[in-house]
């Protein structure tokens, strides 16, 4: 596979395997942490891209999740809290031949790093941002995060948190994101399918990955994993497919949003067919509101995937256009370019 997102990245010569992507560093998350599953999924996914390993870079901020780059046998940069999108932007904008992945957590991406995230999304540099959302601050031992539910009791909120969480999908769509998806740590197949589309997308892609922190927020996504509840709440979005799950279907609501109704109660044509490529983000936004109140219905998959030129691409084009017009810059010409005079 090789979508536009990888068009400028050199292809690997031989075949690569999972092992090629494992670094020699001992993995140090808590036993049982969802990060393990994601790491394994990514390591097993990378060979599929067929790009040179040395042209792959993982950039992260700070948090448990942000340790990720150490475990990938690629280039990596474990930076500072919240700033990975900014650092990755400079890297990707100046090196279109690299496949740049940002690894971040809900605190890293949405609390301290919120501004860089939303700007990266509107700017559309060729980045893949994987947001490990465990709805808690793991590394600092369990304070509530901007995705924690209201009333969350943590060390910093002994009487419960007061502020309404972000819905990362809604926020990203509101920030003009071209590619937005959600998946789950424990569903490797789905994770792979979403990563595949993200990598193929040229521009910034945001993938929210629900990740269990079994130490400080265990079971946050249990309803999506427990066979007893899973199927009744998981809404799998697939482009071009009607949005149906269990015995339910999704249709447009009169009031502007979307609603879940018993499948039998609607006509086939009424069922919403998912269009991830819709230039108007309104429907993707409406779908992101399906899980209100939280975990009644949780869409996963690609909400939105719309092509537009990536920032790095446009930047390169300007450089080329300027050079095409007046030739490559000459330092001597530049210095002598103003009003000069000679003294002899």
């Amino acid at each position: 596979m090789n979508g536009k997102g990888l068009a400028l990245i050199p292809r690997a010569e031989g075949k690569q395997t999972l092992k090629d992507f494992k670094s020699d560093q001992e993995v140090r998350w808590c036993p049982g942490c969802g990060d393990y599953a994601i790491l394994a999924a990514v390591q097993s996914f990378m060979p599929e891209l067929g790009i040179k390993r040395e042209n792959t870079v993982f950039v992260s901020g700070i948090g448990c999740s942000s340790r990720f780059p150490y475990y990938m046998n690629t280039y990596g940069f474990h930076s500072i809290h919240g700033r990975a999108p900014a650092i990755a932007t400079g890297l990707a904008a100046s090196r279109p031949d690299l496949s740049v992945w940002v690894i971040t957590g809900d605190g890293d991406a949405l609390s301290i790093g919120g501004n860089h995230l939303i700007h990266a999304l509107r700017r559309n540099v060729n980045l893949n941002i994987l947001l490990f959302n465990n709805r808690i601050y793991g590394l600092t031992k369990g304070q509530y995060s901007p995705t924690s539910e209201v009333g969350k009791i943590t060390k910093s909120t002994p009487m419960g948190s007061l502020d309404r969480p972000f819905n990362p999908i809604s926020l990203a769509i509101g920030a003009e994101a071209g590619f937005v998806a959600r998946t789950l740590d424990s569903d490797r197949k789905h994770l792979h399918s979403v990563l595949r589309e993200a990598a193929a997308h040229r521009g910034t892609s945001l993938v929210e990955i629900y990740q269990n922190c079994n130490i400080f927020n265990d079971g946050a996504f249990e309803r999506m994993k427990d066979p007893a509840t899973r199927d009744a709440i998981t809404v799998r979005l697939e482009h071009g497919q009607p949005i149906v799950f269990a015995d339910q279907a999704v249709r447009l609501a009169r009031t502007g949003g979307v609603e879940v109704v018993p499948r039998e109660s609607v006509r086939e044509e009424e069922i919403l067919v998912h269009d991830a490529h819709n230039p108007d983000p309104s429907l993707a936004f409406a779908l992101s509101r399906l899980d209100e109140p939280a975990f009644t219905h949780v869409p996963i998959g690609v909400f939105r995937s719309v092509d537009r030129p990536s920032y790095d691409q446009l930047m390169s084009e300007q450089l080329e256009a300027a050079t095409a017009k007046k030739g490559q810059g000459s330092l001597s010409d530049l210095l002598h370019g103003g009003d000069t005079w000679r003294i002899s």
């Binding site: 040395e54 042209n55 792959t56 450089l319 050079t323 007046k326 810059g329 330092l331 210095l335 000069t340």
Partner: protein, 614 residues
């Protein structure tokens, strides 16, 4: 009527008017004519903080001062010989700087009741006795301009707006400036509006003719070209020189330049300038904030670019955490701080030298960075290349401290020969440097202590770096106490060991007992003051620091070889603190924090006092 022509060796003119009066443009043009004519010169623009403060008010006054001479000069001058005052506010705001006997050319048309009232003049100073100690030339600039443009098909407003060109014409006559280039300039500036172009040229000529024909001006002045070193010259401001220096560094290093920046006065013009030169492969990125600006530059540096970020004080504060990351990951990066008056927002359009200690210490942990500072507008070019040299050779962020005075001030610059520019090319690491073909990203060069630089895309050298403490050599995360102590000391030793040229001392007789030391933009005023002091018969030595960290190796010796060391700074004694701590020398500080450069006369007095108190 043949008019008298008088020879002068130097003149200081200040153009002052409302923000809308085009004084910066007028000053720029006069400067260009003067440069073309071959005088040495130095300029000081001064704009209000507001974009356009209400017309006619004191805060709305914009001015441009130009000092030009038949010999080399060092500053834009302390006190103008001529003030061009386009309105009462311009007169009032600038009068206190004007020595008695100076010329005032005032646009009498604007001295209306209303305008006078706006600035609290009860009566017109042009008509009462209050200006009797100056030589006042009342010229109805506006009406003369409008009259001269009667024949053109332009609005009255447009006609009135050309009055600055009339003034420029008059001054050009008064000082025998060449005019062709200005006429060409006007024509090309308004190429799309031929009527406006023609009328501005006409206004300019009318001004010239006014000088030539009326009796208001009986004398005109000649200032011979200066005997500067042979070469090709252009006039250049500090910000432009800095931008050119960065481009030169990119060319000389062979690395593409990546600028991550967020606009801020007085640094924005570097971003503006660099964004014009995409033909050099330069990528300019206007980030969402200062943190993203430096972050992107650092990311680009990780990718093998010459990463640069430009800002002013408040922006440096915001970038601190990321600069710390650059320190510990040992990646090259240039951080340009065009200092302005602080603390906090301070006075954004005013100059200051108050960020030195922040540059050195404004980060958590032991986080050493080299610091360099240019001494004149044109030195901004050289210092940019020097900053790049250090950053690339030692793999370290470098702080470059310019300031508002250098940034906007200009002077003639003798263009360097390209082949004389230093070769600062870099070799990326492409081969394993460890045993068994491994790559050790923190295995240092034994001489420079720099670590190797392998960029993404290099097969076999995949590695990870980050902000957590790293094991010596491998760069793996390490919490080992002794390793940390070692790394802290290695990072410090690397910076301490940077090769820096010796401090040069200007001590003609070799017998001066007082040394005047400076750094940054005080060079001009200090040197001018030294000249005065020497002229008056005293001996005094001068030295100027361009490298603030590490210091030149000989500095301790130099300091100790004088009885007294005087250090003027536009802060409360920041360099003095460093030198005192390092060399236990009782530096004499002279500090004024007025948002303005020192005046040569003021400093001459201070120096003389120090000499006399011996």
């Amino acid at each position: 009527m043949t008019k008298q022509v008088q020879q002068l060796d130097r003149v200081i003119i200040r153009f002052a008017g409302d923000s809308g009066d085009g004084m910066q443009l007028t000053g720029d043009r006069f400067t260009a004519e003067t440069a073309e004519f071959g005088n040495d010169l130095s300029t000081l623009p001064n704009f209000p903080a507001e974009i356009r403060a209400p017309a006619g008010t004191l805060p709305g006054v914009s001015s441009f001062q130009l000092h030009f001479a038949d010999h080399d000069i060092l500053t834009p001058g302390d006190a103008p010989n001529v003030l061009v005052a386009m309105n009462p506010a311009a007169l009032k705001a600038n009068l206190s700087d004007l020595p008695r006997g100076a010329d005032i050319i005032a646009n009498s048309d604007e001295f209306t009741k209303r305008n006078l009232a706006k600035v609290g003049y009860a009566e017109s100073p042009l008509e009462d006795e209050s200006l009797s100690e100056w030589r006042v030339h009342s010229v109805p600039l506006t009406s003369l301009t409008v009259k001269a443009l009667e024949e053109f098909e332009i609005s009255k407003k447009d006609a009135e707006r050309a009055k600055n060109m009339f003034a420029l014409g008059l001054l050009s006559w008064l000082y025998h400036r060449p005019v062709e280039a200005t006429i060409k300039f006007i024509e090309s500036k308004f190429a799309k509006k031929p009527d406006i172009a023609k009328s501005n040229v006409a206004a300019f000529n009318a001004g010239w003719n006014y000088g030539e024909t009326t009796e208001a001006f009986s004398v005109s002045y000649e200032i011979k070209p200066a005997k500067l070193a042979p070469g090709v010259y252009r006039n250049i401001s500090g910000n432009q020189a800095l931008a050119y220096g960065l481009i030169a560094a990119s060319v000389q290093s062979g690395l593409p330049l990546f600028l991550g920046s967020y606009p801020i006065t007085p640094a924005s013009d570097i971003l503006h300038e660099l964004s014009k030169h995409k033909r050099f492969g330069i990528r300019t990125f206007q980030a969402e904030d200062e943190i993203a600006g430096v972050g992107a530059a650092l990311g680009a540096a990780f990718g093998g670019a010459l990463g640069v970020t430009t800002t002013s004080g408040p922006g440096v504060a915001l970038k601190a955490e990321t600069v710390g990351l650059a320190v510990t990951t040992e990646l090259p990066l240039i951080v340009v701080d065009v200092q302005r008056a602080g603390p906090s927002t301070g006075m954004p359009t005013k100059t200051e030298q108050t960020d030195l200690l922040m540059a050195l210490y404004g980060r958590n942990g032991e986080s050493p960075v080299p610091v360099v500072a240019p001494s004149t507008p044109s030195d901004c070019f050289d210092i940019a290349v020097e900053a790049a040299r250090i950053a690339l050779k030692y793999r370290t962020p470098v702080m470059l401290l310019s300031d508002g005075y250098l940034a906007n001030g200009s002077e003639p610059w003798k263009l360097p020969e390209i082949e004389d520019l230093p070769d600062i090319s870099v070799e990326f690491t492409t081969e394993p440097n460890g045993e068994d073909g491994t790559y050790l990203p923190f295995k240092r060069d034994t001489e420079t202590l720099a670590r190797p630089w392998a960029v993404p895309g290099t097969p076999g050298l995949e590695h990870r770096i980050g902000g957590i403490e790293k094991a010596d050599g491998t760069g793996n995360i390490s919490y080992d106490p002794n390793n940390h102590d070692l790394m802290v000391r290695l990072r410090q030793a690397k910076i301490d060991g940077i090769d820096v040229p010796d401090l040069e001392v200007d001590d003609p007789s070799g017998s001066a007992r007082v040394l005047v030391l400076g750094w940054g933009s005080t060079y001009g005023p200090i040197a001018a003051a030294i000249r005065r002091v020497r002229r008056s018969g005293s001996e005094v030595a001068q030295a100027h620091l361009r490298h603030l960290n590490p210091f030149p190796k000989n500095i301790g010796e130099v300091l100790k070889s004088y009885d007294k060391v005087l250090l003027p700074e536009i802060n409360l004694g920041q360099l003095a603190l460093l030198l005192r701590a390092r060399f236990l020398v009782d530096i004499i500080s002279y500090n004024r924090v007025r948002g303005l450069p020192f005046k040569a006369e003021e400093l001459a007095g201070v120096i003389q006092d120090v000499i006399d108190s011996e």
